[in-house]
Amino acid sequence: MGERLRPGGGPGARVELSGWGWQHSGRDTHALRGVDLTIEPGERVLLLGASGAGKSTLLHSLAGLTGPDSAISGDQEGTLLVDGEPADRRRGLVGLVSQDPETQLVMARAGDDVAFGLENLGVEPGLIWPRVDAALAEVGFPYGRRHSTGALSGGEKQRLVIAGALAVRPRLLLLDEPTANLDPDGAALVRGVLQRLLAETEATLVLVEHRVADVVDLVDRVVVLEPGGGVIADGAPGAVFAEHGPSLAAQGVWIPGQEPEPDVAPGAGGAPLLEAVGVAARTPVELGTRAAAPRTVLSGVDLPVAAGTATALTGPNGAGKSTLLMMLAGLSRPHRGEVLPRGPLAEADRRPLRRWPARRLARHVGTVFQHAEDQFVTPTVRDELLFAPLRAGMERAAADAWVDELLERLRLTRLADVHPYTLSGGEKRRLSVATALSSGPAHAPDVLALDEPTFGQDTRTWTELVELLGALRAEGRAVVMATHDELLLRHLTDTRVRVADGGVDAAVGSWGGAGRDGGSA
């Protein structure tokens, strides 16, 4: 069966779609319909569209993952051909790189993981290792074949994923937001690899990327998809952005030069509400035989959080941003030191935050998690928001009125009876913020802690979030967030805290205020 893998290299693959459509099983509407698109060998195409436009679905279909007996089930119409063959017959010959490296690595050792695809294609054992070594060299992988995949950073993992895709010498390379889950350093690392790679390979490239500005110089063609429809714009990047930029931006797509301009109320400022005193944190005890012993990630952290201000925790992944955030929110216990309430918060309870009973904590400190689903505890959106007020003893009528107001404010009214898990990414984010707000006594808790609140959001949800957080700050509440988002830092930050090398480095800067200093076209 060695013939399954054709000789590598050579020109890129040709992609032809005509009248193509896809409907996921169990859905009433098509993810895509009536797509007519031809991609010539060697072209580099950026796919754009509002969220829900079926960009990822199209990539999965090109990778041969949709079809009668494939991983993703549903109904297909029209034709989708890669080099004149239905894509699902070429599964594994196409390189696919998705968002999260964590769920793409299969094996425990780096070399074995790169070899995985070659083994699946039945490549002769003698030919596997030279190809693995070549692929690892191509992405500049800094370790040997035997290096543990568990011990890599996010950016290194994603480079390994790319090496695994390159090892099969694909003539069609599909990239689905390959830098979305990485910190800025990791993203830069991966972009560097892609840049070098694209200069050398003749493979056809189809790319999906949220932050268009980062990749626009990697592509020579932009194709815009419409939710449930087909191609609505197609051409050179400059021409497409000139003609369709404003309408795309209005649909929530991030377009270079069309960044959102949120209307952020100025911060009120105030006295500290809580303060970290000499806080140290260690990594949790890990399961298993070869687990690393717990190590200290933070030590001697002193940090006050003041009312009416926005504090941003930045720094590389793994440096302890989220750990610090969880301790400031009173959720996890510092290894040493304490997070103490100050001012009005100390009147509610003088003990360190981690000793507060959960109900009292929820009334005064709201937390929004990166994965919104983690914090959902009831079967409908309305119950989710009623949960905290009713437990706090609010009367049913008053709670209903308050929940209606929250639903209205976060554009969730029409989804009130839906199960939280079935919401879209942006809707889940809005609901998770609403649940954190719902628990406060005077229509919001005193402190709001958010972990990567803007991650993966389109410009509409992004703008709403930033404006809402700005309004809360103006009401005198403290906002603390762990984030990589430069635009968020620019529009809504009074204190920027860099978490790195076991400590923090706080700078009170001019990022905050009205946020009108931000540059735009």
């Binding site: 299969v106 425990a108 074995d112 083994e119 699946n120 054992p125 890990e286 959720l331 937390t367």
Partner: protein, 249 residues
């Protein structure tokens, strides 16, 4: 379980150099071989011999305690129960405890002294275990640290929503199942993503080739022979001492 793979860590200890398939087979032979004998001497001889091999397994003390602790506890409690309620008094109780440990320890050593990847290679190539499930288990092992992380996050998220058992024991159970359900939803999503990534890399499109070869050496055959000899010796010693008690006698 983090699958950290030290360079060249495979050959420093006698046991880590053996084929995992051979180790697993040896453990299986000992376990099945000890089923008929319920006395303390037969199990004791085997347990003593296996304990003597522990220093050559390359397993550090912490790991041994973490993994062996539950079995030790199980052995002791089964001994205690047999002593209090059994019909054979102290001798029967010691026999039950020793037998359990002698059956469990070899399997534990085989698993803990083997690299998971080599174990799967050995099982597939030497013991003809079907490849798809073996690869699936291997991929799932990689997700265990991720799962542990998700469990911790979910626990924090419950506290953030004001859900905590506090000192009320009746709240612990429903809260635990709530968290378990949330973890299930997350892990299904994670598993689906991983399965999609594996499919995209041609997993299951046809017969696979093998990048790594699992070697069966003379030492592996010798291990199996030694294990059989050990069983025979244990039964012989026990019989000569007049201590041998068989399960159905």
């Amino acid at each position: 379980m983090t699958l950290d793979v030290p360079d060249g860590g495979g050959a420093r200890y006698w046991m880590t150099g053996l084929n995992p398939a051979a180790k697993l087979l040896a453990a299986l032979i000992l376990a099945l071989g000890l089923v008929p004998a319920v006395d303390a001497v037969t199990g004791g001889v085997v347990l003593a011999a296996v304990l003597l091999s522990v220093p050559f397994s390359g397993i550090d003390r912490r790991t041994l305690l973490v993994l062996g602790g539950p079995f030790l506890l199980m052995g002791l409690s089964s001994g205690l129960v047999n002593y209090l309620y059994g019909e054979h008094g102290l001798e029967g109780a010691v026999g039950a405890a020793v037998r359990l440990l002698a059956i469990a320890l070899p399997g534990l050593l085989a698993a803990a002294s083997s690299d998971p990847t080599e174990m799967s290679d050995g099982l597939v190539q030497k013991l003809r275990v079907p490849e798809r499930p073996a690869m699936g288990v291997l991929a799932a092992l990689r997700l265990i640290p991720l799962l542990a992380h998700q469990w911790r996050t979910i626990s924090l998220a419950r506290r953030a929503r004001g859900l905590e058992a506090g000192r009320n024991p009746f709240r612990v159970v429903p809260l635990f199942f709530g968290r378990l359900f949330a973890l299930l939803v997350r892990s299904i999503r994670t598993g689906t993503l991983l399965a999609t990534a594996m499919d995209a890399r041609a997993f299951g499109t046809g017969p696979r080739s093998r990048a790594r070869t699992s070697h069966w050496r003379r030492a592996d055959t010798a291990l199996l022979a030694t294990v059989v000899a050990l069983l025979v010796a244990a039964y012989a010693v026990s019989w000569r001492l007049g201590a041998l008690v068989l399960l159905f006698s």
